[in-house]
């Protein structure tokens, strides 16, 4: 039996030597937030964090990481409260089809935990292993930058300037989002 520590929970599993972490997460533990695509370390959709570093679960043998701290996308939110990185992705419309997003978020999280104020170059460098087929990179980069600010300043600084709460208040008055933006400009 092998002890895996995933999302701060211990699992005692009867692992086969050839089983990858990706297979164990998805097939044995039903943690399907970690996506499977190329399965040969090219796309980054299977990214998880091990000991705080973004790594690829498709080329990690599960037995090899016994006792090490694994965090998957399921381990970020605190109940209904999203992690600042997840929240920033939502607030900044960084999610298109969404397939690459768990991997993107795990890479972003590993970066921001080390460096909450990354430059554009540092963001691109940290996310260079995560491919977005929708090519939605600009918004993803914005979200990473803002998530860093949120993590530093606290959740009250969450979201773009036109925060959701402000927008919701105006929306209740029957104002559309476009009108809201126009109001802000004038």
């Amino acid at each position: 039996m092998v002890k895996l520590v995933i999302n701060k929970k211990e699992y005692l599993l009867d692992l086969k030597g050839h089983e990858t972490l990706l297979e164990v997460l998805r097939d044995k533990l039903s943690l399907t937030g970690t996506k499977t695509a190329c399965e040969e370390s090219e796309c980054g959709t299977c990214t998880v964090n091990i000991n705080g570093k973004a790594v690829l679960s498709c080329i990690t043998l599960a037995a090899d990481i016994a006792g090490e701290e694994v965090i998957t996308i399921e381990g970020l939110a605190d109940g209904d409260k999203l992690d600042p990185v997840q929240q920033a992705y939502v607030d900044y419309g960084a999610v298109q089809c969404g397939f690459c997003i768990p991997g993107m978020i795990m890479s972003s999280k590993a970066l921001l935990d080390r460096n909450p104020h990354p430059t554009q170059e540092e963001i691109e460098y940290a996310l260079d292993g995560n491919i977005c087929r929708c090519a939605g990179y600009p918004k993803i980069f914005d979200a990473v930058r803002k998530a860093g600010e949120m993590m530093q300043k606290g959740p009250e600084h969450a979201g773009p300037e036109d925060t959701k709460e402000k927008f919701k208040t105006n929306m209740a008055k029957g104002i559309t989002y476009e009108e809201f933006l126009q109001m802000k400009q004038t």
Binding site: L61, A63, G129
Partner: protein
């Protein structure tokens, strides 16, 4: 199932790992896994026979980290590429390793791949070997009886990177007077497969190159020290026009025969830029 069934071993000491390797038939050493696991998947897809045993070095204590000892930089085999990149101990001639690390693949791979795996996985792509030969590194191996063997990086790659011992660390002399330039070319703009790597290490004093080493990894052969070009550079005074002269000198049979036009072109550009970088660093380009 991505891989064929295999028996996984996690030895706790390097000698134990070497003993397992000596005892088991068809065992493969697992360092970071970025090359091995993908190649095992490929072998499975192709229907080829795959090894029945994998020996992981991950749980071996003391096989990770960077330190300086007797004015030599010691990089242990299981040091992660990104940890080497972040190491504050890289300086002078070894600072070039930061550029090498930065060029390697993508971030998740750099978080997994190890220096030992990069140097010993027997794949000709891996470019760190090129720099290790240029920097006159020594590679240290441990056998199943715990005996250490030291092989120069140059000899290791000359023998096509073959060994049945466990690689423990690489050591490099810290040389404050050396100037090093390194260039690496990808196969194409979109595919991050190294095509070739060029590293020049030299000492420039009074506008004269001394003790120059030129190393090339062609992507076909393992990293090789190019004596012909090295001899040429060693005999020249350090002048900016040398970059162009060196390229003209390359239009010899050695380089023409082994390369297609794209590769030859990229090789010339890499080498020219490496020489010009040395010129810039040494402030004689004007």
């Amino acid at each position: 199932m991505l891989l064929r069934p295999l028996t996984f071993h996690a030895p706790r000491t390097i000698v134990e790992a070497a003993q397992l390797q000596a005892t088991l038939q068809e065992a493969r050493i697992l360092a970071g896994g970025t090359f091995l696991l993908n190649s095992l998947k490929l072998m499975k897809r192709k229907g080829s026979k795959t090894p029945g045993h994998v020996i992981s070095l991950r749980k071996i204590a003391g096989l990770k980290g960077v330190e300086i000892k007797d004015n030599r930089l010691i990089i242990r085999a299981m040091t992660i590429i990104n940890d080497l990149y972040d190491s504050p101990l890289l300086s002078d001639n070894t600072l070039i390793l930061r550029t090498v690390c930065k060029n390697i693949s993508t971030n998740p791979i750099r978080n997994m791949a190890t220096v030992g795996g990069n140097l010993t996985c027997r794949y000709t792509w891996t470019e760190m070997g090129c720099v290790m030969v240029a920097l006159e590194a020594d590679m240290h191996f441990i056998d199943h009886e715990g005996k250490e063997e030291v092989v120069s990086a140059e000899n290791f790659f000359k023998s096509a990177a073959k060994t049945n011992k466990i690689f423990s660390h690489v050591s490099l002399a810290i040389d404050k007077t050396a100037t090093v330039a390194y260039r690496r070319v990808k196969k194409s703009a979109n595919v991050d497969v190294p095509l070739l790597a060029v590293c020049i290490k030299t000492h420039l004093q009074d506008k004269k190159f001394t003790n120059t080493r030129v190393t090339i990894n062609s992507g076909v052969a393992f990293a090789q020290r190019d004596h012909k070009l090295e001899n040429f550079l060693n005999t020249q005074s350090a002048q900016p026009k040398l970059a162009i002269e060196a390229l003209d000198y390359l239009d010899t049979e050695i380089y023409d025969k082994r390369s297609d036009n794209y590769k030859k072109h990229m090789f010339r550009i890499s080498l020219k830029n490496a020489i010009l970088e040395i010129a810039e660093k040494s402030s004689w380009s004007n």
